[in-house]
């Protein structure tokens, strides 16, 4: 078990890496590819949870969700706060039972990450009386395709933090 100061150091590094990803997203959202903006945020809880497990991953997802809800407009005030812990939990379970954490695992867990996030968007639009499933499905597929490339740098970044903190341990 890590000492308290080592745990603080580890999550400080994760926090800095997350901040870097937020800055990258701020740049990416000015560009449109295939009619959609690349969306980095669902990848963060998915990748980190694959390395850190269910509890830590879900808490990290909660924190990222709160940050996203504060920064992004959403259909409901706590949209990302609800979805991202689920994404983290799902990714951690996949990493524990199917694939060890790594690039391949990150690619696999990014699928449920986008399914949950965009599926919840579609569901809320549908409950609001919008016929969102066909258009939402199209947006989800395109968003996944243009964002999945970002799995590689995101995984490299968080894997570096993970290795560094394990080495310290």
């Amino acid at each position: 078990m890590l000492a308290r100061n080592e745990t603080i150091f580890k999550w400080l590094l994760y926090g800095l890496a997350t901040l870097l990803c937020f800055l990258v997203q701020a740049v990416l959202q000015r560009f449109t590819f295939w009619g959609v903006i690349p969306f980095l945020y669902p990848l963060l809880p998915a990748v980190v949870s694959a390395y850190e497990g269910t509890t830590s991953g879900a808490i990290y997802g909660l924190a990222v969700g709160v940050a996203c809800d504060l920064l992004l407009p959403g259909p409901i005030p706590c949209f990302y706060t609800l979805v991202f812990p689920l994404v983290g939990l799902c990714s951690a379970l996949i990493a524990q039972s199917l694939l060890p954490a790594g690039v391949l695992c990150s690619l696999v867990v990014s699928v449920p990450a986008f399914l949950l996030t965009d599926g919840f968007h579609c569901f809320l639009l549908w409950t609001g009386g919008q016929s969102a499933w066909p258009t939402g499905g199209s947006v989800m597929i395109r968003e996944f395709c243009v964002s999945v490339i970002l799995v590689l740098p995101v995984t490299w970044l968080f894997a570096s933090v993970f290795r560094r903190t394990r080495f310290d341990n």
Partner: protein, 289 residues
Amino acid sequence: MKNFLKNHGLWILFAAAVISVALAVLSFFSSTSSPLTNLAGILASPFRAAYTEIATWFNDKQNYYKDTTALEAENAALKRRIAEMERAVRQGEEASAENERLWQLLNLHRRREDFQFEPAFITEHTVTNWTSSLTLDKGTKHDVAVNDCVIDETGALVGVVSKVGYNWCTVLTIADTDTSLGAQVFRTKDLGLAVGDFALMGGNRLRLDYLPAGCQLVAGDLVQTSGLGVYYPSGLTIGSVDEVQVDDSGSVSYAILAPAADFDQLTEVFVITSFDDVVIPADDTAAEP
């Protein structure tokens, strides 16, 4: 040699004297140069030509260098001047565009003196694929509040403030799925509800729902805010009818609207922070561009 000069010296001197006299006589009576001068000139001519060629070449090179240096300096000065003029032209164009915007706003303000405007710059356009929003650089510090309408300089409705902070606010455009506005067709006076539709949002379009049965809409009809309910001011241009969807009975089901404001091209907008519930005459709004 000494004997030779001793024996023939007088003869040589005599021959030289005879030749000199002959040359002098020839020079005196000839219209051209003397033969010796002529001969010297003939012999010197190629050297003169060569010297002249070299001097000319040297002068050319010298002049070329001087000209090139002067031209380079002149070119640099002209480039600086062009850059300054281009900058001045750009400033002029920006000032002209701003002037035009402000004139249009002034015209709008003349028509709607009850409006209190807060000009704002757009700091961020849409940030996710599921909303159509703008972030502005004005907030509660500038009396901006939730549900304030945001228009462009022509008076076209851009959206409604959904979140507001101290020096920022988020505006959901009229194409967003969370936007819903009371609307009126300018020509027919039919009332409806302009709502964002996710399937249309990507193409910057919205729906006009709840139209009365038998409503006779045509493409191009102007749609404005109705002002009913006093939530939003009346007479703001939402857009024009792009397409009319007719159900099986032949009555209009709903219309697809093209917003008058181009959200992607906007840089500056105006938040209506205050207005009176005064419905203006229709003729006045018709003059709106």
